[in-house]
Point group: C2
């Protein structure tokens, strides 16, 4: 018989406790969580921390390269890592539709556990709500977290002509994967989401003494959203060599077929970097240890402030704009 989550598992009473013990404590077990207090009490070593939150609503819940659980841990840990901090303590809020398959929930919790370990992070507080059938589509996970700063001064507001722009790997894999999975398009390819924890890569850059100005993972809105935000926030022009932007043949194929721009596709384990010019090639070497497709894609100029310019190999130029319209909903 298929075991499912009953509505009563969100009641704050006996059934609620049972779900928490059997599924979530099993995966996330640690001394702080087991105290079952209203809030976790934590000791911090650093006085500077990074704090972030994200809610995840991806459909399908399981996709090549990951699932909503992996995504939920990577998403918040990556946001923390992008500020030069080590992800340390996470909270998790599950919002579950009545009747959700308990085995799938356990599988998702196990994915989260695995990804938490990669980050050296722990879930210290959680919340479970169960909503009546039909009032929510399957499952939403919110993760929030804090990390201790290991590198100070990273900011999207300080990028200048002293910086070089890099990307950590080929782009658009998450968006292309979700789209093809959702539409039931069978591809004879190895296309899978880039969903991945970025803290190890960031730590390698910090340990090597690389001068980092800004980091940002290119999630919803893709690389084009990140570069446009940077151009606006730092009041600069970013010029990108279109040919240098790494796109895998699989993602390129999906884009050709469906009329997408790779730069507007979501990523979940790919980040943009603004690195001091003198350290750019050393940073690239380090990035390549994690992914061979890491590339220097552009530079900062004052040609058109607050805009991003794509230079083609034919010598033409066009603006790369912030994505508008509906793009792909429920992607992360």
């Amino acid at each position: 018989m298929k075991r499912t989550v009953p509505l009563s598992a969100g009641n704050g009473g006996e059934e609620n406790n049972e779900l928490i013990r059997k599924v979530f404590y099993k995966a996330f077990k640690n001394d702080i969580l087991l105290k079952s207090e209203d809030a976790a009490v934590l000791d911090l070593e650093a006085s500077k921390i990074a704090m972030s939150t994200d809610s995840f609503t991806v459909t399908p819940l399981f996709f090549p390269g990951g699932d909503i659980g992996k995504l939920a841990v990577c998403g918040t840990c990556n946001d923390i890592a992008m500020m030069g901090a080590k992800p340390k303590y996470l909270t998790v809020g599950f919002i579950i539709e009545e009747g959700f398959d308990l085995r799938e929930l356990e599988k998702i919790a196990r994915s989260m556990k695995k990804e938490l370990e990669l980050n050296g992070a722990a879930v210290v507080s959680g919340d479970t709500k169960v909503m009546p059938k039909g009032t929510i589509d399957k499952l939403i996970i919110n993760t929030s977290g804090i990390g201790e700063l290991e590198y100070e001064g990273i900011s999207s507001n300080n990028i200048s002509q002293e910086d070089t722009i890099l990307v950590s790997r080929d782009i658009g894999a998450h968006g292309a994967t979700i789209f093809t999975a959702r539409e039931g398009i069978e591809l004879q390819s190895n296309l899978q989401s880039d969903c991945n924890s970025l803290y190890p890569t960031v730590k390698a850059l910090i340990d090597a003494g690389i001068k980092i100005t800004a980091l940002r993972d290119a999630t919803r809105g893709g690389v084009s959203a990140v570069l446009n935000e940077w151009a606006k926030q730092s009041d600069i022009c970013i010029e990108v060599e279109e040919e240098s932007i790494p796109v895998s043949p699989e993602v390129f194929g999906v884009c050709e077929m469906l009329g997408f721009e790779p730069t507007m596709l979501a990523n979940e384990g790919t980040f943009c970097l603004a690195i001091k010019n003198e350290d750019a090639s050393r940073a690239l070497e380090i990035l390549k240890q994690f992914n061979q497709n890491a590339t220097i894609i552009g530079k900062v100029t004052n040609t058109h402030k607050q805009r991003v310019i794509l230079n083609s190999s034919y010598g033409t130029k066009r603006f790369l704009d912030t994505p508008t319209g509906e793009l792909l909903p429920r992607i992360c």
Copy 2:
């Protein structure tokens, strides 16, 4: 024309930025948030913090005494206050159904702003997702937060016969209010939710030097869930004088009519306290400055370990059990 939230407002692009700027930044504006980084970078004065999370799915969204926004700020700030900490930094995740009324969203954001000010807390990071119409019922808000510890050692695992059990006001108002609002029952009464920020009350207890063993707000599952958790966690018996439990005539009326137990109804601004015996009457005086209905309701014994006993005025005894079954879904 009714302005609504379009699906494109969750795209990570232009429309997403517009919603964030116009609605959320307007309400939550502060220097940290305006930096628009992947994560907020925060300076902490204390090395010990409390951290908690909660997701809110109440229906109806607006009810006598509050709305989902007030609830979302109170809920997480109260969990933090219950550990003897001052709520300081919050993250907010909005999950919005496509087509949601923008004016209602603005009203909710304003409620949050007001309640944040009462706590002296700030929203430092946020996330907005918009889900296609029909895949979520209106709106879910997740809040997570951290606070700096002002009183150390509060724990539900250390309650003993040296402690007296108190409740901060009359119980069950939130549950009774939501139920009558939902069922369209028109009551000729002043019944309204107890939804409220508890940090000011906790601070008054701390400032007066009261010896606090445990605090817990009696949300889902009500006072009966809290007392049963305490009895189990501290391996004690809690004996409560049934007559001493404060219940307003309005809540009593709803319970009589619908067959509810007041002790199982949810609260959103009512907490249980375990206070060292010698400080109990002094604590009561302080609680009464905030609500005249604060009461000493019971004591700790070793009659039946891990159980809660209700003593009636007729000399009979019965167990007060942890609530089971569906209770009232989507209450907070």
